[in-house]
Subunit: 335 residues, 2 copies
């Protein structure tokens, strides 16, 4: 059960057992064998808490996300886990479910665990929390939040550009009446993607838009679309905040007998795998989750040889045209 039971059984000191466990310094072959034997016989499993307490180190990094349910999260988690393991670290995740209190709790928990690094992939956060975090001296990577500070790396995706590409494309197809399906990011009262749509519309007098929002889920996208349409508004194109909600929108439209893209065009965002598998396949904007994952680990667990990671990284997303968008119906029929 504990180190010294093993030591006793192998007739050595706890120091020696510790040495073979971590194979530090050189232990004589025969002693090592005796220790290993004792460990096996006792089914000994070192207490990780004691280990990090004594060692003052902790080979685990934390990853906090606002919605683990969205495959977007998993796509960044995966490379993070792989890279972290490759560097001998574990990763522990926390889900905030878009709840500010949960974010605070999760961050405190991570600090309490004395993680070696922390990645926070949420939409927005309180400046006080950021302060608390910087003062904890833990290396932190933010995705989509705040500005870089000492020991803080910031990854930012240029949503504005991405949305502009979407809106421009729809405009070029003749769409003038837009709809925007967002989600309640309780943490982000001012959703950058939505703002970008509104701004793009404001810039072009011939465009109009109406917005609706619900949960960041398939069902949420469907509900938002429903309320968008319930008002009597009939957009020719619906821009969704992400792929998941877009798939929800697709369903609502289908059930109303509205064809996509003949009657209404739909766009997603993120380019999650599902966007290729739904029907019709979504026109969307690609965000390189894998790359983001690598950046996170590089920033959190610096490699001996590697150059210091950048502190501010901006990603310009790529537009992907698929089958859910087409010319505005009025463009061919009404004219």
């Amino acid at each position: 059960m504990s180190l010294d039971k093993v030591a006793r059984r192998a007739k050595v000191s706890t120091a020696t057992v510790s040495r073979v466990l971590n194979n530090t310094s050189v232990v004589k072959g025969s002693t090592r064998a005796r220790v290993m034997k004792a460990i096996a016989e006792l089914k000994y499993h070192p207490n990780l808490h004691a280990r990090s307490l004594a060692g003052g180190k902790n080979r685990t990094i934390g990853l906090i996300a606002s919605n683990m349910e969205n495959p977007f999260f998993f796509d960044i988690y995966k490379p993070v886990e792989a890279d972290a393991h490759a560097r001998g670290h574990e990763v522990v995740v926390a889900n905030t479910d878009y709840r500010p209190e949960q974010l605070v709790a999760s961050i405190r928990l991570m600090i309490g665990r004395r993680v070696a690094g922390l990645a926070v992939v949420v939409s927005e956060m309180d400046p006080a929390l950021i302060k608390e975090l910087t003062e904890s001296r833990i290396p932190v990577v933010f995705y989509d939040v705040g500005s870089p500070r000492p020991n803080i790396t910031n990854i930012r995706v240029n949503y504005r550009r991405g949305i502009e590409k979407v809106v421009d494309y729809l405009h070029s197809l003749g769409h003038r009446r837009l709809g925007f399906v967002g989600h309640h990011a309780r943490l982000a009262p001012i959703n950058e993607r939505m703002r970008a749509v509104l701004d793009a519309v404001a810039r072009n007098p011939s465009l109009e838009v109406k917005t609706a929002a619900d949960a960041d889920t398939l069902e949420g996208g469907r509900q938002a679309t429903r309320s968008l349409l319930a008002s009597g508004y009939s957009p020719t194109a619906i821009v969704c905040v992400n792929d998941i909600t877009a798939v929800g929108a697709l369903r609502e439209l289908r059930e109303r007998g509205i064809r996509v893209p003949q009657d209404v065009s739909v766009t997603g965002f993120d380019n999650v795998k599902l966007s290729e598998f739904c029907y019709p396949a979504l026109t969307t904007v690609h965000i390189p989750r894998e790359r983001i994952g690598h950046i996170i680990v590089d920033a959190l667990i610096p490699q001996p040889g590697a150059a210091a990671a950048e502190h501010e990284i901006v990603i310009d997303p790529e537009f992907m045209v698929r089958d859910s968008t087409g010319p505005a119906p009025s463009a061919s029929r009404k004219r």
Copy 2:
């Protein structure tokens, strides 16, 4: 940074600081206030490792899954987290990605963390590992694995029944040539769902089946379907191991111009939310993930008042008919 810095600053003993932190016993109002003040000023965050080492307790439970990417996992994670939090516990998850080595590593990690309880939601596992686990004295819940033992609870879904319902239904619709799309559960050479299909077919001489398997992902389902069809075999119905792979199958069929359900019927399994949102909506088998989540927490974190949880729980899944299945084409055309 540490308890006694706080103690020093508040001019009290570490014992007192500990008391206010855990608000055990009664601390005089004024002293408590001083301590709180010191804590705030120092931005003190208790070291959780020290805490669990000293206290000998650990209010966290572990959850190991073989594929976090499948929404099935999240649907069970969610209630587990909610219930655990309600009982003052944290939950830490681990993903094995169907890799046996990773399963071993994850289990060892959990034991090392001295979790208060562990839920293992994987397809299959080594008896030696089960032994290691029972000897660790940690309360364990298995989903779909092994048999109940002391301090081990077993939740089992009657896949066989579920699959039988699917096959019977397809048979009643006139389907005779079946396809089965499975996945490489490297941990489960003998996949129960596949066996059930094979057995059902064996029992009925008029039925034939061919199987294919790939990854447990959208893409995997598509690939498996592709290889199923590449052989020249033309099933009138494809039974998929779960909803995700079924959605992959749907895409492959669509791209080949094969209509579902007119030309080929498709079935999923799990009744994940996506099964309602894909097109066409999947006929599937419902597995009550939420209920499973509750069972897990009840078994791992027993409540004072509650009765002891059962040690063996069998769930009979429910069949759900939706739009991806229909009469076999030959049934109406050839006859």
